[in-house]
Symmetry: C2
Subunit: 580 residues, 2 copies
């Protein structure tokens, strides 16, 4: 069998290792800056690709990522595999039952927020194709359809993440936004699959099937999988869990089925990713898919395959030389106006108050990974040029970044305060050798003193006063002494660990080993509640508590907090959408 | 960038889906028959490859798995990636501290059981190279070195699995066997890496490095990684867990590092897998690598990448036409004699009693995945021919299959009895509407009646008598009424679920919702204890219990048992070796 030779294998491992490491690094940095990690992953590809490395050291760029030959084939094949697996996971996020439960509202808003941006995009493309960067020789109809759908698609995972960040996920408006996004994902991808069929047909990439046949088979496949396929899978999964080794049986089944779906849709003339996506929807919808299996698939694919794919996007194009500011601005305005108006009008029509309707429009305007996948395909099929590709990637990322702040503004909602935000190494006291809760509070107040405009004793007195009303000990060995401090600017949190434990009059009678003092500004009642709630919920997770009280270093304590993902800091892309 | 075209992508997904699905299916069947799943995975490739599909439908075989072109390159690149990731995981199984703790014994047995089979293999290859299937034109020295090391290598994961099956894993002899196997893995792979360097040099696959340089760099890399690299990684991991998103940070770090290691060793002229293996050893040895991260990596790689790689082995060669019985027999005898003698002599020397020394020899004789990886490389470098390749694969699998039964024989140890073994659908009674434990026992005895030569009332009376001595209820809602029944041939287990619960005088005062009656032959005291222990341990896992008592069907009940992997039914390949 033909195989890679020695130096090609070396290059393969070196380039994959570099792509993965850089993508993960930049992804982490993006998350630190409260941005979606896909932003960092694409940036990693831009750094390693023709845009930056190709400019400063073209030989290294071409050595690592040659444009042709076995290594180019291998990387492109792997990227195709990676994006299909990513779409499988994205499909698994789609919870059809949420959509069905809110079907009237989801239908109204779903339709307006697809139709309005589609019409705007289609119209703009028809009236000014050259200005919008249609490739010479591309079919104007296909180009217009593409731009219409590119402006109508939204990004379910990005939206779900933003709603969680804003603590809105399980609210009325949150669930409606999710239902609409699910509807749009399904319909949008179906329309896109049909346009893809047309692109392939016009591209003459002879799969020997008429466009009518392709459309019929696409619709047939989607409806078959979502009805018959779905109920068959619901029966097979419990059998697999009972009779095969866990989780290998289900894992192999899910990925194998995803690949067959990908092969089928590629065969009928649309792209492999559509088949993987539909298989993902039918799989993820099953309550028989155990949470842990889901997690294994999602973690590996979103942290390994997705970064590889998104980084490979940056390798395709020189983002500097193809950055056309005028084009970016035009696409940006078209995209934002169409989608925001679509969501706003639909929500208002469906009976939502004005502020929430705006929030709906801003939320649906968030694009992201999906838009980029779509633009990449159009580029590969020669429907759009590199300038428009770069513009679409920029718009996809910019709208994802804007959505959160704009929704906050429209709902005037802030992110809840969290323990981690106010932790510092200087107010972390491991191994307190105290014998009473009074002593513990004095020590914690002393540590907080440098950060308050007040003497430690006065801080301690405020906390003691609160403690006299009722003990702040919670079950499980945690106490949260707290007070509102006049004149304080910022909340102060100090953490004490008492290995021997002290009696804190706890409801479960256990001695207290972890005391976290929360000092908040006098007027910040809401912040205080949020901090206390965050602390209680974090340490109600027994393994977190067990790990935390055995820590001797601040790093160890931070790692303990990381034991359980916070409800509002979920994994970046795959967020399972569950009914409230 | 050069990329796969439409029909190549279709073939890629179709072939990968088929390989994965068939490999997993055959792997599951192998496990059902208590065989290692690697056996089934290789068989899947044999079925889809030239041996079977190629004979009955050559066009389909060539369409799916072409011998050259982009699809062949893609598949071979993916197989190289998969085997390197598999070696990364195999390296993670290596627990250096176990080896260091038992260093004297591990060293003695490790050396005898490498030197003796190596000398036998080397001598045989020198004296009868043609008979053993040396390729014309291959260097006799390299061939002899290869055969020597091929006969000396053992398979840590296979051995660990067998020890767990026999409940010997945490025994003295078990831990010693593991320590020896770890020592052999490290030393054997190091020697093999050097031979690989020689193969590449003689193969003229011009990486432009002298063999001396390759050996020096290999030894340097291994010692650097196991000392400096190891301590740096031990410091980086806790930082990553504390400061990056979980588990993406560690996952990306582990895989990225594995790929850099692979690229480096491929570059210096030995194979990529060696670098991945050494990185795996340094990573897996760290107590900072959290169990769950380890599990995610292991599950995805052992259930997706490893099956893909092992199935691809069957695609390489026609196993029927290259099956040479005489050669297989010769290699088999050489392999078994050398390795068993090596282990036996070493163990006896180190002070083990005779029976345990034999067990050591039989255990170390188990080969498996590693031997096959090694043979494949020798085939690819033209050192051995297809006949010897097939013989080595057969010997690898046969010795893995023999090891368990032979160890049982030498230690006269049987597998412990388990609940699952004696469960039947006919003795499963969901939704018992009983109000007293007396009624429950009568119902369960009635269900057991057809399988015993005794009336149900008499069975029930035996159980009631035992119950009068002391209640058999355990905490958590489980009761295990039991009795030894004169004249019974086989244990009988009947299961009753009582949704409303009955009072069983339980130590925690809770009512009993699950009653499992255990009837054993009069003399089978050990079996009874093993069954009761298995039942108690299975349902002490709260989620298993919760799932079990909500079941209405037998399938659901089996699935509930599957919620937690049994201690003696671990995942097939990745078994973490931990000190007792």
């Amino acid at each position: 069998m033909e195989s890679l030779n020695h130096s090609q294998i070396t290059v393969m491992f070196l380039s994959l290792g570099l792509l993965l490491a850089t993508a993960r690094l930049f992804g982490e940095i993006a998350k630190r800056l409260h941005q979606p990690s896909v932003l960092g992953e694409i940036l990693a590809g831009i750094v390693l690709g023709p845009t930056i490395l190709g400019q400063i050291w073209p030989e290294a760029n071409l050595f690592l990522f040659p444009l042709e030959g076995p290594n180019a084939l291998m990387l492109s094949g792997l990227a195709t595999l990676a994006v299909s697996l990513f779409l499988l996971v994205a499909g698994m996020e789609v919870d059809l039952s949420t959509m069905f439960r809110l079907k009237r509202v989801a239908l109204i808003i779903g339709i307006t927020s697809i139709v309005i941006p589609f019409v705007i995009g289609f119209g703009a493309a028809q009236s000014m194709p050259q200005l919008l960067g249609m490739e010479a020789g591309a079919d104007p109809l296909i180009f217009s359809l593409f731009l219409g759908i590119a402006l109508s698609i939204c990004a379910l995972p990005v939206i779900a993440k933003i709603l969680m960040d804003l603590n809105l996920f399980r609210s009325d408006i949150g669930m409606t936004i999710i239902a609409v996004a699910i509807f749009q994902d399904l319909v949008g991808w179906l329309i896109f699959a049909i346009i893809l069929g047309m692109m392939q047909a016009s591209n003459g990439d002879g799969h020997g099937m008429s466009i009518g046949m392709t459309i019929a088979l696409t619709l047939g496949f989607a409806s078959f999988m979502l009805t018959v396929g779905r109920s068959v899978i619901h029966r097979i999964l419990p059998w697999l869990q009972a009779h095969t080794s866990w989780p290998g049986g289900v894992l192999g089944f899910a990925l194998g089925l995803g690949m067959f779906g990908a092969a089928f849709t590629e065969f009928i003339g649309i792209h492999a990713i559509f088949g993987a996506f539909i298989v993902g929807v039918t799989l993820g919808d099953s309550s028989h898919l155990r949470q842990q299996t889901r997690t294994t698939i999602e973690q590996f694919i979103s942290f390994i395959f997705a970064p590889l794919f998104f980084a490979s996007i940056g390798l395709q194009v020189d983002f500097f030389s193809h950055f056309d500011l005028k084009l970016v601005m035009i696409v940006m305005v078209l995209a934002c106006v169409g989608k925001t108006l679509g969501g706003l009008i639909g929500a208002y029509w469906a009976g939502f108050p004005r502020r929430q309707s705006w929030a709906m429009g801003f939320a649906l305007n968030a694009r992201g990974a999906m838009e980029i996948v779509l633009a990449l395909l159009a580029l590969q099929y020669g429907v759009i040029g590199e300038d428009l590709f770069v513009a679409l990637v920029v718009v996809a990322l910019a709208t994802a970044l804007m959505a959160g702040p704009l929704m906050q503004l429209s709902l005037s909602r802030k992110q809840p305060a969290t323990l981690r935000k106010y932790l510092t190494a200087n107010t972390y006291l491991p191994e307190l050798a105290c014998h009473t809760r009074h002593e513990v509070i004095d020590m914690l107040a002393g540590a907080a003193e440098p950060y308050a405009d007040m003497h430690g004793n006065s801080l301690a007195n405020l906390v003691h006063q609160r403690e006299q009303i009722m003990s702040t000990a919670l079950p499980g060995g945690l106490a949260v002494p707290h007070a509102r401090v006049p004149g304080l600017k910022q909340p102060i949190i100090s953490v004490g660990i008492i290995p021997t434990g002290v009696d804190w009059d706890a409801p479960d009678g256990r001695s207290t080993k972890l005391a976290i003092m929360v000092l908040t500004p006098e007027k910040a009642g809401q912040t205080q509640l949020e901090l206390l709630a965050d602390i209680a919920s974090t340490f109600s997770h027994a393994p977190t508590m067990a790990k935390a009280i055995n820590c001797h270093t601040y790093t160890c304590f931070l790692a303990a907090l990381n034991t359980k993902p916070h409800a509002h800091e979920p994994a970046d892309i795959p967020v399972k959408v569950e009914p409230a």
